[in-house]
């Protein structure tokens, strides 16, 4: 196994062919994410950040370039090969939750485990554990439509973590949530990051980006900045909001 690089892309390019004009969405991205890192990808709309994360997860095909997932060459895989890889190594969280509306929360969370080969009992145990960690045990038999946005995203998170993926990918996870629910999801992301999960998040929400170890700025399909965010204080200073924020007037 390679020295801990969970994701490595080499000169990744994606060009869309719509109608007559080719539209380049990603133009030569070299990205490397180490084990346990929390990376936020930011950029204006149209910068290609969603395309990038879809390609890393195998939901979209690349035009050229290499993608290495956990030391394994992935961009040459067929669609079914990617499907198998995704089952084992990648968890995905979307902006609009994308839970199967006709199945219960429990079934939704167990689905990846079953797909990965777990028995019904093992899948159930895993689901109970995850829902417990995320505080959703009593909602297990509910339909997704009965849950609030924040709860649905937490269920989506549980589903993404069902197979203990090496990589968690999230596309605007707080984009459809109000500030309170967004905060809850953010807190969860921080918790699982502290437990060692590698996370790549596409976001324009500064609160999420602020939580990341590393922020990658994408502009017009290319990386313009890739670095660690600077913490003003490394130690937690006791104080109230009034000390940190200047009130004018």
């Amino acid at each position: 196994m390679q020295s801990g690089a969970v994701v490595r892309t080499v000169n990744l390019v994606k060009i869309y062919q719509t109608g007559g004009l080719p539209v380049p969405a990603v133009r030569g991205v070299d990205l490397e994410v180490a084990d346990g890192e929390f990376v936020a990808i930011m950029g204006p709309s149209g910068s290609g950040k969603s395309t990038l994360i879809h390609m890393i997860g195998g939901l979209d095909t690349r035009t050229s370039g290499e993608i290495w997932l956990d030391g394994q060459r992935a961009d040459t895989l067929s669609e079914s090969g990617w499907a198998v890889l995704r089952r084992e190594k990648v968890g995905f969280v979307f902006q609009f939750f994308n839970l199967v509306a006709t199945m219960t929360v429990a079934d939704n969370v167990e689905l990846p485990a079953l797909l990965g080969g777990a028995s019904a009992r093992q899948a159930r145990e895993r689901r109970e554990y995850l829902l417990g960690e995320l505080g959703l045990t009593e909602r297990a038999e509910a339909a997704p439509a009965q849950l609030s946005g924040g709860e649905q995203q937490r269920v989506a998170l549980a589903r993404a973590l069902a197979n203990q993926p090496r990589l968690l990918l999230a596309d605007e996870p707080t984009g459809n949530l109000d500030s309170r629910n967004g905060r809850d999801v953010l807190r969860l992301l921080r918790d699982i990051h502290e437990k060692g999960q590698t996370i790549i998040v596409v976001t324009h929400d500064a609160k999420v980006a602020g939580m990341a170890d590393r922020v990658v700025m994408l502009l017009d399909g290319q990386i313009v900045d890739d670095g660690r965010s600077v913490r003003r204080t490394s130690s937690k200073r006791p104080g109230g909001a009034g000390d940190v924020i200047e009130l004018r007037g």
Binding site: S50, A83, R86, N98, T102, T104
Partner: protein, 768 residues
């Protein structure tokens, strides 16, 4: 944290099992969520299967009671008429023969009925009903040794003569002696064809009664019935029997002829029903594919989600197939049960083989119909967010021009809609065109039947009545018949069975008129015969003897050879078209003089019933020809039923297409409203889009149907032996009405959801 690393080594079987469980849960959840739709699909499939079963049973039973009769009565498959009692042991020993019936003595006699003489055949039978070839009593009582004057008459014979249990029965033997008997009961049998297609009529008597009526053994015949293990061996067994018995054989009748006589035109009917059945299945397949496709389209988001979790295309295709095919299977089972129950009411249930065929055929149709949408579902791209909406159309130059010319915007926008989304538009159009085409062909059949009814001459029934001499001399009979004011011409005629040397059966020959003054046969190919030795034949005969127009055929009629050249082909609805027609002068004198009957052509507008009554009053035996259209009248019922089913299928297709296009239009709707179109205008736009497609589909279908109808029906006719040349396209009036009704109902169906959607409050900014 529970480590699950251990299970990674579980390998493929565990994975596919797990995937199966997961897929199963999704399918169950999906079916639960759309119980109504699933129920409708099951109902549709059940309906089709039940309709097929009922149709097949109708075909088999209503038009061919032979199967039921022969099953119940354990009929013999071959009846051999010999002069003397044949070698029973030798016959029994024949390869393929399982049981024997008889031998029974039979004697011809005459029934004196209200002054006319009706020929009949008396057959002896014991008071104990036999195991093979058993007549089935329908009324009254069977033969009773205590009442030797009691006879049992075959049902159709009795109906023709208005005989009932207790009626007097005066038999006149060949020696002229009169015997007063009475009718003790009526029975039907699978061994005897229906009167008057099968003459003479059959009457069962006790052996001593037979001896009384016909004491001279020289004038009696012996008839033996053979029941075979496999009815398909009939030809071989007959050959063997004839060889074994040598010159003793007078006549051979097989179950096929009996069946044919019981159900004239059953081949034509059968082919028509098969055609409708096949097309019904195709239209149903289209409807199922449409509905499944529509459903899968609605589910694209979920399918993309499943793919993002890690389902492969194949797994998704298999899952969708399992979901929809299982609905089909449930429908088939329900349909089998329902169909059988309904069919039970009307007659003998279908054989297991036929049921299995129907079930297998429908299953195949379901699988084929579901496969393509399922495969396309499997190909959904795995990005759930990508399935935002269909490609938008743009305003083409034509549209802009039209708007400039101030055509109503609803019309322009609606037309633009119909033509910028090509594939869905095509699917909708085809989904309507196919049922419409079949409906038009159905109307063509109706028109053909109408043609039969209005122009009986076109199907060889120029003569509405047939007169037999009875007691009178044939000349006297002819004089009396021609004396009637409504009778135009009386053609002398004879119908005889001819044996073709290398065939193991007999064929009907019909001599009518003279070669110089022939009966107006409906010649469709070649020409009419002009001279002795020329004949015209039905398609069935040409197929049977493997000859063409211009060939010579050789037959034997009662021992005398007959050689004729076939110069033309006629439309021949009798005997499945296996009839040879020529002038009476082509026959040997012994067969043609005196003529067996006279065919009477009546004046235009004369009522055959009245004329018949008048002639009967003159001691003439008169029978009325049955128009094939009447015999085929059950087809009209089936046409109506199929038109209804096809119309429902077409409207179902339309509803699915409307729902899908409405979903696509949700955003457009909001924009239109914002543009300032009133709800009525918005509804008009939506309806125009669908309406144009409906019109296109209906017109295409009707045109295709009209063109194909004649050809198809002729094909049917050719296949059934009746012969090509009967096909008719529906009349222009019929077509116009059908097209207008179809377009109207289509628009109505499209209007309902359109009005609802136009009135609903649709937010422009709603996230789809």
């Amino acid at each position: 944290m529970i480590t699950m690393r251990g299970r990674q080594g579980s390998g493929n079987p565990a994975r596919s099992r797990g995937a199966g469980v997961g897929a199963g849960r999704w399918v169950r959840a999906d079916l639960r969520a759309r119980r109504g739709e699933a129920f409708l699909t099951v109902l549709a499939v059940a309906g089709i299967v039940a309709a097929l079963i009922v149709g097949a049973t109708l075909l088999e039973d209503g038009t061919n009671p032979w199967r039921g009769l022969s099953a119940r009565g354990h009929s013999a498959h071959v009846w051999i008429h010999t002069k003397d009692t044949p070698d029973v042991a030798a016959l029994k020993a024949l390869d393929g023969v399982s049981e024997l019936a008889g031998p029974y003595r039979t004697a011809p006699a005459t029934l004196a009925d209200h002054g006319r003489k009706v020929p009949m055949a008396l057959q002896e039978m014991s008071a104990a009903l036999p195991a093979v070839g058993r007549p089935l009593l329908v009324d009254g009582r069977w033969l009773d040794p205590g009442h030797p004057e009691g006879v049992v008459v075959e049902r159709t014979f009795a109906n023709a003569l208005n005989l009932r249990p207790g009626s007097p029965f005066t038999a006149v033997g060949l020696n002229g002696a009169t015997h007063t008997l009475f009718v003790s009961g009526l029975a039907e049998s699978g061994d005897q064809g229906f009167y008057p297609e099968w003459t003479p009529g059959l009457v069962w008597t006790l052996p001593e009664t037979l001896m009384t009526v016909e004491p001279a053994p020289g004038r009696t015949e012996s008839v033996t019935g053979l029941r075979l293990r496999d009815p398909d061996d009939t030809d071989l067994v007959v050959q063997r029997a004839v060889t074994t018995l040598g010159g003793q054989v007078q006549r051979v009748a097989t179950w096929r002829e009996v069946r044919a006589s019981m159900a004239l035109d059953n081949r034509l009917l059968g082919l028509l029903l098969a055609l409708f059945g096949g097309v019904g299945l195709v239209a149903a397949a289209l409807a199922l594919a449409n509905a499944t496709g529509g459903r899968v389209l609605m589910q694209r988001r979920d399918l993309a989600t499943l793919k993002s979790i890690g389902f492969t295309s194949r797994q998704i295709t298999r899952m969708l197939m399992a979901e929809h095919v299982s609905l089909g299977v449930v429908g088939i089972v329900v349909g089998l049960i329902a169909g059988r129950t309904v069919a039970m009411v009307s007659g003998v249930p279908l054989s297991m083989g036929a049921l299995l065929w129907i079930a297998a055929g429908t299953l195949l149709v379901v699988v084929v119909a579901v496969w393509l949408p399922a495969w396309r579902g499997g190909r959904t791209p795995p990005i759930p967010a990508a399935t935002v909406g269909p490609p938008r159309g743009h305003l083409s130059r034509i549209a802009r021009l039209a708007l400039l010319v101030r055509l109503p915007p609803a019309l322009v926008l609606g037309a633009r809609d119909a033509f910028t989304r090509r594939v869905p538009a095509l699917v909708t159009t085809v989904g309507l065109a196919v049922p419409m085409m079949m409906i038009t062909i159905g109307l063509g059949c109706w028109a053909t039947l109408d043609d039969f009814a209005k122009n009986p001459a076109k199907v060889g029934q120029a003569a509405a009545l047939t007169v037999r001499a009875g007691d009178l001399t044939s000349d006297e009979a002819r004089r009396r018949a021609e004396a009637d004011p409504d009778v135009v011409v009386a053609y002398p005629g004879a119908e005889l069975d001819a044996l073709v040397p290398w065939q193991t059966r007999t064929v009907r020959t019909r001599a009518l008129g003279t070669s110089a003054d022939p009966y107006p046969f409906p010649v469709v190919e070649g020409r009419m015969f002009h001279e002795r030795g020329e004949a015209v034949a039905g398609q069935g005969l040409l197929d049977l003897l493997n000859v063409r127009i211009g060939d010579r055929v050789r037959m034997t009629i009662g021992g005398t050879p007959l050689i004729v050249r076939i110069v033309g082909r006629v439309v021949e609805p009798e005997q499945d078209g296996e009839v040879l027609s020529f002038g009476t002068d082509s026959l040997a004198a012994k067969d043609s003089v005196p003529p067996q009957f006279y065919a009477l052509v009546l004046r235009n507008g004369a009522d055959p019933g009245q004329v018949r009554a008048r002639l009967q009053g003159q001691a003439l035996e008169v029978t009325q020809a049955v128009n094939p259209a009447d015999r085929l009248s059950v087809i009209r019922v089936i046409i109506v039923a199929l038109v209804v089913v096809l119309a429902l299928i077409g409207l179902g297709n339309l509803l699915t297409a409307s729902a899908l296009s409405l979903r696509d239009h949700v955003r457009d709707l909001a924009v239109l409203k914002a543009m300032g179109l009133t709800p009525r205008q918005v509804a008009a736009t939506l309806v125009t889009a669908t309406g144009l497609l409906v019109a296109a589909g209906v017109l295409c279908g009707a045109a295709a149907g009209a063109v194909l109808s004649t050809g198809l029906i002729d094909l049917e006719g050719r296949g059934s032996g009746v012969g090509a040349g009967i096909g008719r396209a529906p009349t222009l009036a019929m077509l116009t009405v059908a097209v207008l009704v179809a377009i109207g109902s289509g628009l109505l169906v499209a209007l309902i959801p359109a009005r609802g959607a136009a009135r609903a409050q649709v937010g422009v900014t709603r996230a789809v």
